[in-house]
Each structure stands twice: as structure tokens, then as C-alpha cells.
Symmetry: C2
Subunit: 396 residues, 2 copies
């Protein structure tokens, strides 16, 4: 028999808190309904949930306008038929960037109903971004004959790590204008609808695992290469938020321990060797005219040797960091996004070499690498997907 000391704390990993359970049950019901209308009894059989649970979830979904119910008969008995309201209830996806804001309206069956974007100057104040987003959203709603009551909520992407405790941008050189703003509260006030905020890389990952050709991937890495470099991680089918919400910080993987000091306080981080800012700096030394992301893309396509070399070095470094990620998480696919993604194989080839150089062979050989097919819309689409994954938030 066990001695007293043998008793250890009977705590267990508990993935099922009440709110998580409720969310999961909602997701199941929505998933079952995405196959077509069903009676509450059919939903109960399809999900294993009790009819009482189904009834509660259906009431909640009906209240927020996500489903419609109608009396019907099933096997001669009265029943309640439930169908997704796909055409009149939408999610708004908003993507805030350093120089742009993009808004999409998406239906529950994952169609883009409408979209619009606006350019903004670098360093614009967050409030200008917010009012621009609001204007675009209102215009799209009006043009599509919709009102706020047709909107389930807005997903919002912000290009910076978000501290999930305070709902503020955690550390900000990429988007210093947002630092200190309590994003959820401010955006809910400004937009007048429920809001879910996440960082752009997480939303890119969610978009790829939802809308893209990798929809359904359970383990996926999305890496966004821009003036910053960040990754969104899908593990076991869900985004990874970690303890504080600061995850996927691949831009701060040490590549060169004696390299340039990084804004994070470390040295030789991936961002210091492979961000578009660094590439532009490196190429500017020998170029007479101004270098931009667009000029890099054009020069690479024209076979300009210094540009190809800079891309090669950056790609190898990105591959090095991604190789480390692949060794840890063994994803099915790594998707590369950001402005350089349109280079396709010109960008992927050095990244692929970097990955193969730094992964154990079985991982390297079995990890797909691709550019995003969602382009500039990835984050906004992911933001819309975020709404469909969350239970409705009571409007304030």
C-alpha cells in the first residue's frame, strides 16, 4: 500500500473550464449546422450534447442572429428546425497596419461579401486608424444594405504583441502609436459592436487554417516577413496564446550572437538580419535611388545580383529560425506571408535551404513550405474567422 508520502497532488491538466466548455459546445453546434439545417434532435445526435444543452445554445445563437429556427415535423413529431443565417449576419474583419487599414465583411459560410482598404501615412495616430476603419465598415455595411444588428462582431488585427492581461499592445516599436491603448474597450466604443482583438500574425495563421488551401490543418505556422517578423502558430487545431498572449516571436530568435543590437535588448535577432527594413538598409548603400519593398521585388525579378544575395541571406536566416520552430512543433505546413510573399519561389528557395539545414531530417523532409495565397487579405480574413470562433460578447 502507498505510504503517505506517495500521495501527490491530484491536480490534472484541465482543458475544460466552464467558459471553454461552453465555447466548445457552441463550436460543435455551428460545425454541425455548417453541413446544413438540422432539427434540435438531429443536432443532439450529431454532437452528443443533451437536448437541453442544444436548446440553450440554439437560443443564444438565435438571440445574436447567427441562426434562425422554424417549427417543422420530424417522424411525425413537432420539432424545431435550425439553420445558419448565412446571408444576413456577417463578421467584420479589420486589419490595422503601419500604413493601411483593411476591412472585410464575411458571411458565416466563409465568403467575402465586401472589402475595402485605405492607405495611411507611416506613424499615423491610432485614432486616425480607428476612425478610418469605422468609416470603411459603415460604408461597406450601407452598400450591402446591412446595419449594426446584422453584425455578429468585429475581429481586429494589430501588428504588435498583445498583452492578454491588460488588452494593450505589449511592446511596440512596430506600432508605437498603439502602445498603452486598451484596445478592446476603445475599439468597442468606436465601432459600436462586439470586438475581438488579436495580433496580425495569429490572425494570418488562423486565416490560413480556415480560409486557405490549408484549411483544416491542425499544425500550421504562418510567418509574416515585413518591417518586423512574427509568426502565428496553430497547434492541435487552435491558435497558441501562451501565458500572456506573447507568442510566435520568431523575429527574436538569435541568429548571430555577435550581431546588431535589437530593439528587444538581445543581439543578432532574426529581425536585425532579415526584416524588410534591414534589406532596404543593406541595399540602399549602393543604390542611387530610394529602395523600397516594391523596388526589391522588381529588382529580384530582374535578377539584380545584390538584391538576390540580400534575399538569399535573409531567406537562409528565416529558414534557420523556422527550422527551429519545425523541430519543436513539427507542423504540416509553414506559410510565408507579408509583402515579399509575391516573389514566390525566389523567396522560398533560400528559406527552404535554411529549414533543411537546421531541422532533423525527418522533420525537414515532411514540412511543406508555401507562400500565402490569401495575400494582403490574410489578416482581415483571419480577423473575421476569429469572430466565428468566439461566443458573442454582450454589447456595452
Amino acid at each position: 500500500m502507498p505510504s503517505r508520502e506517495e500521495n501527490t497532488k491530484p491536480t490534472r491538466t484541465n482543458p475544460g473550464s466552464q467558459s471553454a466548455l461552453r465555447l466548445l459546445n457552441r463550436e460543435r453546434v455551428l460545425q454541425a449546422l455548417s453541413a446544413g439545417p438540422a432539427t434540435q434532435a438531429e443536432l443532439s445526435r450529431a454532437t452528443g450534447l443533451s437536448t437541453a444543452t442544444i436548446s440553450n445554445i440554439v437560443k443564444e445563437l438565435e438571440r445574436e442572429g447567427s441562426v434562425r429556427t422554424e417549427p417543422t415535423t420530424s417522424s411525425g413529431r413537432r420539432a424545431l428546425n435550425v439553420r445558419l443565417v448565412a446571408d444576413s449576419s456577417v463578421a467584420v474583419g479589420i486589419d490595422f497596419g503601419r500604413r493601411h487599414v483593411r476591412v472585410v465583411l464575411a458571411t458565416r459560410d466563409y465568403r467575402v461579401m465586401a472589402e475595402a482598404a485605405a492607405s495611411l501615412s507611416l506613424g499615423h495616430h491610432a485614432e486616425l486608424g480607428i476612425s478610418t476603419a469605422r468609416g470603411l465598415m459603415e460604408r461597406l455595411l450601407t452598400e450591402n444594405g446591412l446595419s449594426h444588428s446584422d453584425v455578429i462582431g468585429a475581429g481586429v488585427g494589430i501588428p504588435g504583441p498583445l498583452d492578454r492581461r491588460s488588452h494593450t499592445v505589449a511592446h511596440g516599436a512596430v506600432l508605437p502609436e498603439w502602445v498603452g491603448i486598451e484596445t478592446d474597450t476603445r475599439l468597442r466604443e468606436a465601432l459600436g459592436i462586439p470586438v475581438h482583438v488579436d495580433n496580425d500574425a495569429n490572425l494570418g495563421a488562423l486565416a490560413e487554417a480556415t480560409w486557405g488551401p490549408h484549411g483544416g490543418a491542425d499544425n500550421l505556422v504562418f510567418v509574416k516577413i515585413g518591417s518586423g517578423i512574427g509568426a502565428g502558430l496553430i497547434v492541435n487545431g487552435a491558435p497558441v496564446y501562451g501565458n500572456l498572449g506573447i507568442t510566435g516571436e520568431i523575429g527574436h530568435t538569435a541568429i548571430d550572437d555577435r550581431g546588431a543590437v535589437c530593439r528587444c535588448g538581445s543581439r543578432g535577432c532574426l529581425e536585425t538580419v532579415a526584416s524588410t527594413t534591414t534589406m532596404i538598409e543593406q541595399l540602399s548603400r549602393n543604390e542611387p535611388g530610394p529602395v523600397s519593398t516594391q523596388s526589391i521585388i522588381a529588382a529580384a525579378r530582374n535578377g539584380h545580383p545584390p538584391t538576390l544575395r540580400v534575399l538569399d541571406d535573409a531567406g537562409l536566416a528565416i529558414g534557420h529560425a523556422l527550422g527551429t520552430v519545425a523541430n519543436l512543433l513539427n507542423p504540416e505546413v509553414i506559410v510565408v506571408g507579408g509583402p515579399l510573399a509575391e516573389l514566390g519561389e525566389l523567396l522560398l528557395a533560400p528559406i527552404r535551404r535554411g529549414i533543411l539545414r537546421h531541422t532533423i531530417p525527418m522533420v525537414g523532409a515532411n514540412t511543406s513550405l508555401t507562400v500565402s495565397s490569401l495575400g494582403e487579405r490574410a489578416e482581415a480574413l483571419g480577423a473575421a474567422a476569429l469572430v466565428f470562433r468566439r461566443p458573442a460578447v454582450t454589447k456595452r
Copy 2:
């Protein structure tokens, strides 16, 4: 209205395949029962599952001996009371090492009922390990008055990455004796009970998130420092298996791009600079007698400068690799296991410096670092926990 091109594939991340759903439902029922006996109606209310689902799961659990049912009355009506069979049904946890095999019997309420271990010579054949494990298991069962029918199953830890497609050890220098053996089939045959195999680092992580003081942690990293270095990852409350089952390969994080060639085919991997094998090699150059893990521990405690320097360099490198992991996954806690863990702060101090040097400040400041309190039993306890998380496998 959307144009035809606007329609994108309506695929969605689908965490709910039928078997995953069934497993999840089982877990909910077992979780509800861990609070005490309950009627089927109570279980339905506690879990949100239908009474039909509850009834099916209870039948399955009763068939495998995990629960007992008895007629009762509830509010004047006949009901079926369900209770966990904690005292007469056990899980076996088996940990195969390079030089040892350890077996524990654990009850469903997470107590160690009995345990035993045997030493084996380095390079012993897998079959010797298996027959030793079987002998220990049979002895423990007999000593505790139990038979095979009291055993729910065996969790088995193997110190090497497992390919989840073929159920074989994937690449093996750490345990070459196991390469090519179809572990699940062979062990099920040899032990005569259902078997679930996983690698030792995953089981260490599961043990820490189940049995240890961090029980309940949703995001946890367990790193085992030995002749190899591997990590087990708990993300969103569940172990990470990735696409093929090859995850947590932190030992192959590049630390020094010009460093020693590694068995994986890369260079300067963490294992080449910080494994116990490397430490022993480095210290053997200037020592007259043989150096071992035990002698390193003794020398470090005596303040032997070369040993402290080797530990410092290894710790910094381990911290570097763990910093990268923390930047990606933002765990609540990182737990260090393996033979050197008993050094406590002597080992943790350089690792902590390495982590702080390579994480963004908010992540570094909010990641706890600790040594395992489960010691040599961690993997065997995790193996037992694996059984309780899995549905029963039909015996062949």
C-alpha cells in the same frame, strides 16, 4: 454581392473528428467523476452531454473496469449511480532508459500504489528491456494482489522520437536498440495489456502538468538534459505531437553554426555543446579518473572550477535554446529534468541567464524556471497519466 472568385473553400480548422470527440467526451465524464460518484443524470448536467452519450460512455468505462455502477434512487426515481474504481483498477507506467527500466502502478486518483526499477547495461537489446519490464510489472501486480484484468493499460516511455505513422523509433542514436521495432504491437504482445507509447520528454511534460506542483498548467515546457536533450511541450493543456510525432527537438537547436557536426546532420546543435556526454568529454581531458554524471554533480557541489565552467557554458546554451522556445510558446513554467536536475540552482542559474539573454523582456520576466520535483519517476508517472487520458484499446 460577391463575385464567383470571392468564394473561397469553406474548410475550417476541425478539432472535432469522431474519435477526438469521443475521447473528449470520455475525459469530461471521468473528470466529473473525479469529484465523486454521480448518477447518470447528474453526469449529464455536469458535462452538457446527452443521457444517451453518458450511458454509452459509462457502459464502455464499466466494460474496461474503470467505473462501477449501482442502482440507486434520485428524487424518488430509479437511477444508476456511477463511481470511479480507484482502488482496484490501475495504470502501469513504464519508463525505458538507456541503462534502466522503471515500472509504477498508479491509481486513477493519481496515487503511486507501487514501483520498482532495474538497472541494465548500456546498449542492452530492446528485448531484454521489455522482458525486464514485464517481470517488474508482474511482480508488482502480484505483490499488490492484482491481475491483468485490474490493469486499464500501460503507458510506455521510450527515449527517442517516435514516428506516429509507423509506431517505430524514428531516429535513434540515443536508443539505437529500439530502431525498427514496431513498439505498440511488440509491447502489447509482450505485456498482454493495452499499450500507449510515447517518448520520454512528452511523458515528462505530461507528468509535470498532471502530478507535479504545476499540475493544471496549460502551457508548460519540460526539458530533459541527459546524453540527449529533448523537450516535451504542453500547449493549451495538451501534449504537442505535431504532424508525425517528432516534436520538442530542442537538442537540435543551432547554438554555434561553426560548431561540431551533430548526429542529426546539422552543426553546433545544443546536444553537441550541452549534453551530459559532451560535458563528460570536456571534463575528461584534464581529469585523471573517469568522469560521470554523478562525479560532475559531486564536483559541482564541491565548487570545482572546471566543472562549474562547463556547467555554466552548458546552462547558457540550454537557456539560449529555451529562450527561443519561450519566445514562441510563452509557457507559464519551464521544468528541467534529467540526472543533473538534482543540482538545483547550480544548474538553473546559468540556464536562467541564458533564457533572459534570449527572450523578449516581457516573456523572460514572466517565465518560471524550476527543476522537476518528480525526479527519476517523472517519465513513468507521465506514462501512467497517458493511460488515464486515453480510451481503452481493445486487447488483441
